[in-house]
């Protein structure tokens, strides 16, 4: 019902926007119809209508106008299709939407690999190839930005810090409901001349190509807004809603990673919006940001774009770090090694990430004077990243490794990201980057960091919290099948891409020299095998969600707060505010307690002496699980 209302309002808004534009054009003596301005203004009003219709009017705007607000609570399945403020519902909405988008963009990757199986245009035309490749890129980037933070972050962060909900529940729902228009617009690019600039949208090409570019820009600006609002919500939630006793030194590491990533999405994302707005201004208002003939400069865009898009890879990977370390600690049955160092490493990464963007421009023709400094800052990032590895390896050391499906994905994360990180050094180093920039070496590198790193961590997280979110256990056997299938096929796919890149395979091409045919055939076949592993995943998840055995509250016997309540948690999360008394990772410490879940204050704080101790221990429920 809210969905129908949203579509109706969106249609009204769209018609209104189109009407205003056409009327304005006629009144100023221009041709009545011009696709790009009409689409832009129409979209802005349609978006407003969509948001008002889905629930902003009922639950928000009325309050601002001083009208009585009706708090409609949707129950059952309907709440997943409504403007619902429960962070757990929003988390599931995000997760399901973006896993579906991930599978869709994965299908696009299969199409790309079919085209690249043999040299020459074998399957689709050059134009179609560019569209498929661009769409694969932007959808996967969106998946990488939003799935862990929006999905798992939304679901677990309030639980992990002992809060009832996020700081701004309505804003949270708004962030999610900004996403469907993005998907609709991106699909719409196919009907408006297509999108052929890749996800990076470099001008002047994006200044002059078909109108699909306008839809792309509007979509990504909308998505950026969603990302900014989501980041803001997490920052305030983590800063202000921690349970009593949950000091900064006791935050689960995943919460720290979300905090660090949110700092970036709150700030840097504005630069992406700015860059895309500049393109729109060039196209719609005839401005000259990127038109060299009129005093503009195409390199301006590359600076603005990468000022967001390099930090963006840390929006993607920092939650991956947090998730992997979280899982490694719980399944090694050991405290997280170097817990104090890792948040420091995260913050150092955040700070450094703002001063490394120009390493994407080493071959762009920017001033030579910038090469040295940006090479230095880029390679310095390996130092805080090294702390993550120290923590991961130290946590495993002498542990009791419980090799469940989430643990396997966590372990694979360490190995995959190691390769991703080491190959990154070749790209940070100017001499080697001159050869490797814009080749399949880069393609392989970022697939190692994002797929091998973040997506593996995402699967670790999905399997880890699956019992909590659905109240049911997944099939451990099929989970392991999924892991080994995906892990082996993944390396078989991407290792040869490094070779192809070194040997002259440039990026984003639908055709290539015949000499590179063998390696591409090999990659394609491996990629198809890898694609098959997601069928196993999907089947396992869907079947288990419907039919899996009921999960107990704490199947992993983990110490963190979310496992101390029922699976799935009650709507208010905790029957009473939990009081945190120790570290979330104090495995192996006799009698240690992380939190006390009673109404009465647990103990007098007088004995503490202000010590913000690293250790502490399992929550009460851990032993009884």
């Amino acid at each position: 019902m809210p969905l129908v209302q949203a579509f109706v309002f969106a249609a009204i808004g769209g018609v209104f926007g189109v009407g205003v534009t056409v009327a304005g054009r006629v009144l100023t003596g221009r041709e009545a119809w011009s696709l790009e301005p009409v689409v832009t203004v129409g979209y802005i009003f349609a978006l407003l209508g969509w948001l008002l219709g889905i629930g902003v009017w009922d639950q928000w705007a009325r309050e601002w106008l001083g009208l009585p607000v009706e708090h409609r609570q949707h129950r059952g399945w309907a709440r997943y299709f409504a403007f619902t403020t429960d962070h757990k519902v929003v988390g599931v909405q995000y997760l399901v939407t973006f896993v579906a988008l991930f599978l869709l963009a994965g299908l696009l990757a299969m199409l790309i690999r079919i085209e690249l199986m043999a040299p020459g245009m074998t399957f689709m035309g050059l134009g179609t190839y560019n569209q498929v490749m661009s769409l694969h890129g932007i959808v996967m980037v969106a998946v990488a930005v939003a799935t862990i933070i929006g999905g798992l972050g939304n679901y677990t962060v309030p639980l992990l810090i002992g809060a009832e909900d996020v700081a701004f529940p309505r804003l949270n729902a708004l962030s999610y409901w900004l996403v469907p228009p993005v998907a609709i617009l991106l699909i719409g690019t196919f009907f408006t001349g297509g999108l052929d600039t890749g996800w990076t949208a470099y001008p002047p090409l994006s200044d002059v190509n078909a109108a699909g570019q306008v839809l792309f820009n509007l979509a990504v600006i909308t998505f950026g807004l969603s990302s900014i609002l989501g980041g803001l919500n997490f920052l305030v939630t983590i800063a202000t809603l921690r349970a009593p006793g949950m000091g900064w030194g006791r935050l689960p590491i995943f919460v720290w990673s979300i905090f660090a990533a949110s700092l970036i999405s709150l700030t840097a994302t504005q630069f992406l919006a700015a860059g895309l707005m500049m393109i729109l201004f060039d196209r719609l208002l005839g401005m000259a940001f990127f038109r060299a003939s009129a005093g503009g400069d195409p390199l301006l865009y590359q600076h603005v774009f990468w000022f967001y898009s390099h930090p963006a890879v840390y929006i993607m990977i920092l939650p991956g770090f947090g998730l992997a370390l979280e899982v490694l600690s719980h399944f090694s049955r050991k405290p997280l090694f170097g817990y104090r160092l890792v948040p420091g490493g995260f913050i150092a990464i955040v700070v450094l990430s703002f001063v490394v963007w120009a390493h994407h421009l080493f071959t762009s023709g920017m001033s030579d004077a910038l090469h040295g400094p940006f090479m230095v800052t880029t390679e310095l990032i390996s130092i805080p990243t090294g702390l993550v590895f120290l923590s991961a390896l130290g946590t495993l050391w002498l542990g009791r490794l419980w090799l469940t499906t989430p643990m396997l994905f966590g372990l694979a994360f360490v190995f995959n990201f190691l390769i991703g990180g080491l190959t990154g050094i070749y790209l940070a180093d100017v001499p080697t980057d001159i050869h490797l920039q814009d080749t399949h070496f880069v393609v392989a590198h970022f697939h190692y960091t994002i797929v091998g790193g973040e997506i593996f961590a995402l699967f670790a997280g999905i399997y880890y919290w699956f019992p909590k979110m659905t109240g049911r256990m997944f099939s451990e056997r099929w989970g392991k099948v999924h892991f080994w299938w995906m892990f082996l096929a993944y390396h078989t796919t991407f290792i040869p891409m490094f070779w192809a890149g070194i040997h002259g395979m440039n990026r984003r091409v639908g055709d290539y020299p015949a000499e590179l045919g063998d390696v591409n055939l090999f990659i394609s076949v491996a990629a198809f095998v890898m694609g098959g592993s997601f069928v196993v995943f999907t089947a396992n998840v869907v079947w288990s969600w419907v039919r899996g055995p009921r999960a107990v509250a704490n199947p992993w016997r983990a110490h963190t707060l979310e496992w101390q309540v029922a699976s799935p948690p009650p709507i208010e999360n905790f029957p009473a505010t939990p009081v945190v008394v120790g570290s979330p990772y104090a495995y192996g410490v006799p009698g240690a307690v992380h939190a006390v879940l009673t109404t009465a204050p647990a103990h007098t704080p007088a004995a503490s002496g202000g010590a913000q101790a690293e250790p502490a221990g399992p929550a009460l429920a851990a032993d009884s699980a």
Partner: protein, 218 residues
């Protein structure tokens, strides 16, 4: 489920040279459940404030991007045809409006509805005059540096971006005025006033940086 035991002896036996066991006293602390920092989760007002400041920080980056574009494309170059008197006048106008917004908030804080209404209305009016000033400025600018060349590009985009923020501020203040008329802030909850006024001041701060960037720097 098997038993879940902690065998301290074995723990010590397994200690490596490379890592330390948890210090004894910290274990004791954990057992006694101390080290509780009595920070209660923050009230909704301070949560709102923190959120608004993060939002303002985020907006700063948007303006920063466009201001950087100005220096990247043109360095310190600026055309002689800029209407300096108008630029200075617009800046002073915004400063006056910040004063009235401040006084509006004071009125709300002290339950002085008349002061709140009077100052909010003045601020809205000043905002509208500012927008008209920008409109007049644009009509001149179109002749001297149209948006199809470099300076026009940064001039129109920066002033346009800022004017859009002024407009949204005016809308927010109009909401405040509407609610104040109906006595919604008399009960003591004035977050709506505070947020709108803070936003208005932020728009002023943005202009404090945009004005020299476009008109003065050379």
């Amino acid at each position: 489920m098997p038993g879940w035991t902690h065998k301290t002896d074995e723990t010590v036996q397994h200690m490596s040279d490379f890592v330390l066991p948890l210090p004894k006293h910290e274990t004791a602390v954990a057992v006694h459940g101390a080290a509780v920092h009595e920070h209660a989760p923050a009230s909704s007002l301070s949560r709102n404030r923190v959120g608004l400041w993060w939002f303002i920080l985020s907006e700063c980056f948007l303006f920063l991007a466009f201001i950087s574009a100005r220096y990247y494309l043109l360095g310190l170059e600026r055309p002689a045809e800029l209407n300096q008197a108008l630029g200075l006048g617009l800046s002073l106008l915004l400063l006056v409006s910040s004063l009235t917004a401040y006084r509006a908030e004071l009125g709300a804080q002290h339950g002085d509805r008349r002061r709140l209404l009077r100052n909010t209305a003045t601020t809205i009016l000043l905002g509208l005059v500012f927008l008209m000033g920008v409109g007049y400025e644009w009509s001149e600018a179109l002749v001297h540096f149209p948006p199809s060349e470099a300076f026009g590009t940064v001039f129109f985009s920066l002033t346009g971006l800022h004017a859009f923020h002024v407009l949204s501020g005016v809308v927010l203040l109009a909401l405040v005025y509407w609610n104040a008329r109906r006595g919604r802030y008399d009960s003591g909850s004035i977050w709506g006033v505070e947020a709108s006024v803070k936003y208005w001041h932020f728009v002023d701060v943005a202009w404090v940086f945009i004005y020299p960037t476009l008109y003065l720097v050379r």
